[in-house]
Symmetry: C2
Subunit: 322 residues, 2 copies
């Protein structure tokens, strides 16, 4: 199959926006709505590093897309579209690629976005999916990592640690736990849910915001560093799913794992106390839970505190890429 | 070395635009100037496919960037910046990566652009560089592939086939030719020169335009298909460098190779006869030669004609990716 047949059959139908020219051109044009600016982010997923070769192709596609949509969500953006550079090992045949493209198409519908351009190339190595996604925010309105103020409260959406549990399940552990819990955790690893609506509703309420992809403590560390503050997290407040509670028997181990596992794709954010109620309202409107887990203090870095206010030592706050 | 050290030492200094937040955030913001829209394109380069592992790292970086800048040039765009997803094999150490980043920095200066965001990840496979570049054009002003009209003339910038010759040299052939010619051809392969200024000057003069990256005839085939026309190219008019003339002894073989080799990164465009003089003026202002090589006719596809107007059979019009 040639690159052009690939594009014509699989990817051109995904280029639904007028500015994408049905992938018949070399570039796309994009205009942000009046008074808005574009928000751009890029994330690459590599087979054997970010997903397993045996994962379902439609889920791989969705995870690659959603990793980017999660960044846009935490930045308060309305998603508009994406470009994709796909490096394909020759052993991947058309059935695999068709399922991959179907996954993209389903998520484009779900999130109201279009493919705007791409590049497909052969590779002697692992399948590599580099996506650049873009959305828009009112000009100057993008929540940043810097901006957290002393006294602000720290929140996280959904539950943390599920994907980390799912990854351990996929590696062959966790056989003692109920099948339903196992499936839930694996699904959370394979198919994150970007908090797209929540992120937009929170945009004007947060002082700092980012998506949790490398581990909650590691990612909060970015807010602490960028804002020049200390973040204290109360371990007992961490929102954990019933499935995760069933999976990790030891409480202390479970808390540390949940606070440091990657791939959550939740939003962690800080907000002035005065906005707390509006945050809860926004979460209710978005249909996503948010949990207050800590506060901003003077100082630096992130600490995890037990019920007595004692610091829990954490060897590694998140996923290390190299 | 951690991902964060990599970013802080090598890549943050490249994020010079205010909207890039010094790479301290998860996303960048971009606003096109009033009355303009953004033009986006993406291209990935894979070690062993698009470049050799032994190529100088600064040249690899520049080629990856320039492949994208060449697309923007052919689309009449002023380049603004880029995002880069870099998948790095563990054997690449800091010295290699430093040289790579230095190459990016030099080209950012040369083209007046900024890094806006990125993602670095480990890979068990070949080094893979996925770049998404963006520029701007007056809204609605981007030259497309469709638009060529019967009677229009076909032009190409610079010379064609040099990079193809350089690639053959790098594979160990071409030992009989002068060292200077060999170096010239290899340089054309390793370090393309996007026609950034020319592309902007041509923007309102062309009826269709694209960059020549897969081979002149293959790329002209895209214009023919998108515009619903036939393109006839006169082989004797193809602009060939003195180095290429020294490299390929056989005339017919040389012409076919030059017309089908990839990696030229020149602009091929069509223009109404009435604009011919302004095209020549634009080329003079940009300091780049342009050569009229053919014309648009009724029909379909691309034909290469000899001096007698006979069609030269071409087995493969360009680089095939799969």
């Amino acid at each position: 199959v040639s690159e052009f047949e690939l594009i014509a059959e699989l990817f051109a139908p995904l280029a639904t926006a007028p500015g994408a020219f049905g992938l018949t051109d070399d570039a796309a044009v994009i205009e942000a709505p009046e008074g808005h600016e574009l928000v751009l982010t890029t994330d690459a997923l590599v087979e054997g590093v970010h997903f397993f070769a045996t994962d379902p192709p439609d889920l791989i596609a969705k995870k690659a897309l959603r990793a980017n949509l999660s960044d846009l969500a935490a930045k308060g953006s309305m998603p508009l579209g994406y470009l994709m550079a796909l490096s394909i090992p020759s052993k991947r045949g058309m059935p695999w690629l068709r399922a991959f493209a179907r996954g993209l198409g389903e998520d484009q519908q779900a999130y109201g976005i279009s493919l705007f351009g791409g590049d497909t190339t052969a590779t002697p190595g692992p399948l590599t999916i580099a996506i650049t996604a873009f959305g828009c925010v009112p000009s100057g309105g993008m929540p940043q990592r810097r901006g957290a103020q002393i006294g602000d409260r720290v929140f996280v959406s959904g539950t943390v640690g599920d994907a980390g549990g799912g990854l351990v399940c996929l590696r062959g552990e966790g056989r003692g736990i109920p099948a339903e819990a196992r499936e839930y955790l694996v699904r959370r690893f394979q198919l994150p849910e970007p908090r797209t609506k929540l992120g937009q509703l929170l945009r004007d309420l947060v002082s700092a915001s980012l998506d949790v992809s490398d581990g909650l403590l590691a990612d909060l560390g970015h807010i602490a560093a960028a804002s020049g503050v200390r973040i204290s997290v109360e371990a007992e407040r961490l929102p954990l799913s019933a499935a995760l509670l069933a999976f990790w028997p030891d409480t202390r181990e479970r808390l540390i794992r949940a606070a440091t596992a990657g791939d959550d794709y939740e939003i962690a954010f800080t907000t002035p106390v005065a906005e707390r109620e509006r945050v809860i309202e926004a979460a209710a409107e978005a249909g996503v839970s948010v949990t207050e887990i800590g506060r901003i203090e003077a100082g630096e870095s992130v600490v995890l505190l037990d019920a007595k206010g004692q610091e829990i030592p954490v060897a590694r706050p998140g996923y290390v890429h190299f």
